[in-house]
């Protein structure tokens, strides 16, 4: 069972039922579960969408788009059935928040999905979990069955005469499927390659019908917005960044864990106070602020508030909230190689700049880290990465290129130190140099 952590600065909204047995429906009901649904059933869809807009809740998957706006894009009239699709394909390296949501509070995802359905006029929702999360899928399936048994799902939810169905779905191992259009392809039983946009899923999505796709954390937050009231929820965060965020803090900190903190909470404080500082009293070298696809920050760049706008201004992204902390014993070239190896492995091969770009970056970095790099490699890798940006159907190409550019720019000296057959200055004694298969 994953270890839970806590800190006095936490504001527990989404995580408030963690560790309290709320995966069981009776306990969930005791803790205020399905009250938000009842509130929404008494209102019309415009009211729900307006509340969501007022909450300033922004998508927790990484893009940070306003959830209320996204819901408002779904046409009211549609010849085709509308769908809600919950993205629980959590696979951004450094991110493990949805893991805890499905483990401790699956009903919040179910309740949020139904509310989203009421808002846009959908009668069916899908909760898609990555294939590796089998035990979480089983927990979620039990929760769905319980919700049916208690009349929160089915033909007549809470006696309102409204209907809503939820189907749970497993993936089978693919980072790319976390991208919304690839997710729909996978759910339709195909290879998870992205679709070109427009049309956007809100107009033409799953099975050709208008579809809302939200991250699992976003959906799990929805009931809390209605529970607290949109204004109260928005007030927790910073302007245009409502509420809290589940930050997955990992790497070289004393107390790694998932912490729920208000949007805009200072990154330096997250590392040095909340997570207990750098492990073993070492010094900080770099921080990846929002999952492995976000550009790395230097120690002098981390005195910033963790919301979408402030991290964006600092030249990186809040992304999925996965804060990866790197100490001064770490080789950045090795770290960059491991990062890019992941994207090379996960590139679906649909768009050439991504398929070839990630592979060549991996090859170059492998050679470079082994000490056989040429001086021109540094600029070539940067040129290659810059030419991947914006040239692919989906953001995976960018996700690989952006961190690469940041590593090369911010740690150029360290790359140069690997030149001319010099051994990696950070090579661990007795451990052969990393060769990624």
């Amino acid at each position: 069972m994953p270890r839970l952590v806590s800190h006095p600065d936490e504001v527990r909204i989404v995580s408030r039922r963690f560790g309290q047995g709320a995966e069981k429906i009776d306990r969930y009901l005791e803790l205020g579960g399905y009250e938000a649904l009842k509130k929404c059933l008494a209102q019309d869809s415009d009211w729900i969408i307006n509340e969501m807009k007022a909450s300033n809740l922004r998508g927790r998957g990484g893009a940070g788009f306003s959830t209320g706006m996204k819901w408002s894009f779904v046409p009211k009239q549609s010849a085709k059935a509308k769908y809600i699709l919950v993205n629980g394909d959590e696979s951004e390296p450094g991110t493990c928040k949805d893991h805890l949501i499905f483990l401790h509070d699956p009903h919040s995802v179910i309740e949020g999905t139904i509310i989203a359905g009421l808002a846009v006029g959908a009668k069916m929702g899908f909760i898609y979990l990555r294939g590796e999360y089998r035990y979480l899928l089983e927990i979620t399936e039990r929760a769905v069955a319980d919700a049916y048994a208690r009349g929160f799902l089915g033909k007549n939810i809470c006696g309102s005469g409204k209907e809503f169905e939820i189907i749970t779905q497993t993936g089978a191992g693919a980072y790319e499927v976390g991208e919304e259009s690839a997710l729909m392809e996978s759910l339709e039983g195909k290879r998870g390659v992205p679709r070109i946009k427009p049309p956007f899923p809100a107009v033409v999505g799953l099975y050709g019908g208008p579809t809302v796709i939200n991250n699992a954390e976003t959906i799990a937050t929805v009931p809390h917005v209605f529970h607290m009231g949109a204004a109260a929820y928005a007030a927790v965060g910073t302007p245009r960044n409502g509420g809290t965020r589940l930050f997955s803090v990992s790497g070289h900190v004393e107390r790694p864990g998932v912490y729920e903190l208000p949007m805009g909470y200072n990154l330096k404080k997250i590392i040095y106070e909340v997570a207990g500082g750098i492990r073993g009293g070492r010094n900080l070298k770099a921080v990846v602020p929002g999952g492995s696809s976000t550009p790395v920050l230097l120690p002098e760049e981390i005195d910033i508030g963790m919301d979408f706008d402030q991290v964006g201004k600092a030249g990186s992204m809040l992304g999925s909230g996965g804060v990866v902390v790197i100490d001064d014993r770490t080789c950045i070239v090795e770290f960059a190689l491991r990062t890019i190896s992941f994207y090379a492995h996960e590139s679906c091969g649909w768009c050439i700049p991504c398929r070839e770009g990630t592979d060549w970056l991996k090859k170059s970095l492998t050679r470079f880290h082994a000490g056989f790099g040429a001086p021109s490699d540094i600029d070539n890798m940067q040129y290659l990465a810059e030419n991947m940006l914006g040239r692919t159907f989906c953001p995976l190409g960018d996700a690989a290129a952006m961190p690469t550019i940041a590593f090369l720019k911010k740690f150029r000296k360290e790359f140069e130190d690997h030149l001319n057959g010099k051994p990696c200055p950070f090579a661990r004694e007795g451990v052969p140099q990393l060769t990624v298969v």
């Binding site: 450094g94 991110t95 294939g131 779905q169 993936g171 770290f335 451990v431």
Partner: protein, 176 residues
């Protein structure tokens, strides 16, 4: 391809229980084909890998060609066309795990099992894989043995993990 879409359990490569589950699964979605990815994974869980017979039956149940099934199956990293060990040990070495010593854990597994990277023990009990992020970054280094997570492993924990599953096999043999 056969046009016979009858799903009789008697001719199925799957157990009656799984066959019945699949009968229901294809009816669950607005479109039958949506059952494909879960069906392949659940089939693999039972059979061990996607054998020719599995591919053929899944194709028949969904009503698509075997080629289409293979086209989809080859995309997903958890799906395999060759058997793995009874216990497939998947060591995450992605960044969060790497920073906390995942490669040392991976090497220790190789020593303990006497296999190389992506190797398998001759008795068919264990196979070893290096995998990408498994969503346990805050509890790194983490591994999965089949679907079970083991968090915050140190190299010295490795013999214990291996032993745990070895004992399970011995108990199964005793009870058989």
């Amino acid at each position: 391809m056969s046009t016979d879409n009858s799903q009789s359990g008697a001719t199925s490569v799957f157990s009656p229980r799984l066959a019945a589950r699949f009968d229901a699964l294809v009816e669950e979605y607005p479109v039958k084909r949506s059952a494909l990815v879960p069906m392949l994974l659940y089939a693999q869980d039972e059979v061990g890998y996607l054998s020719d017979a599995v591919v053929a039956e899944v194709a028949r149940r969904i009503g698509i060609t075997e080629l289409e099934v293979r086209n989809v199956a080859t995309y997903y990293s958890m799906l395999r066309f060759k058997p793995a060990g009874q216990f497939n040990i998947q060591v995450c070495t992605n960044i969060s795990c790497m920073l906390r010593g995942a490669y040392d854990v991976y090497e220790r597994f190789q020593e303990e099992l006497g296999v190389g990277p992506h190797g398998a023990t001759p008795d068919g009990v264990f196979s070893l894989e290096e995998v990408e992020c498994i969503g346990a970054c805050c509890w790194a280094p983490a591994i999965q043995v089949n679907y079970d997570f083991h968090d915050e492993l140190k190299p010295d924990d490795v013999p214990g993990v291996v032993d745990q599953y070895r004992k399970q096999v011995q108990n199964e043999k005793k009870n058989a």
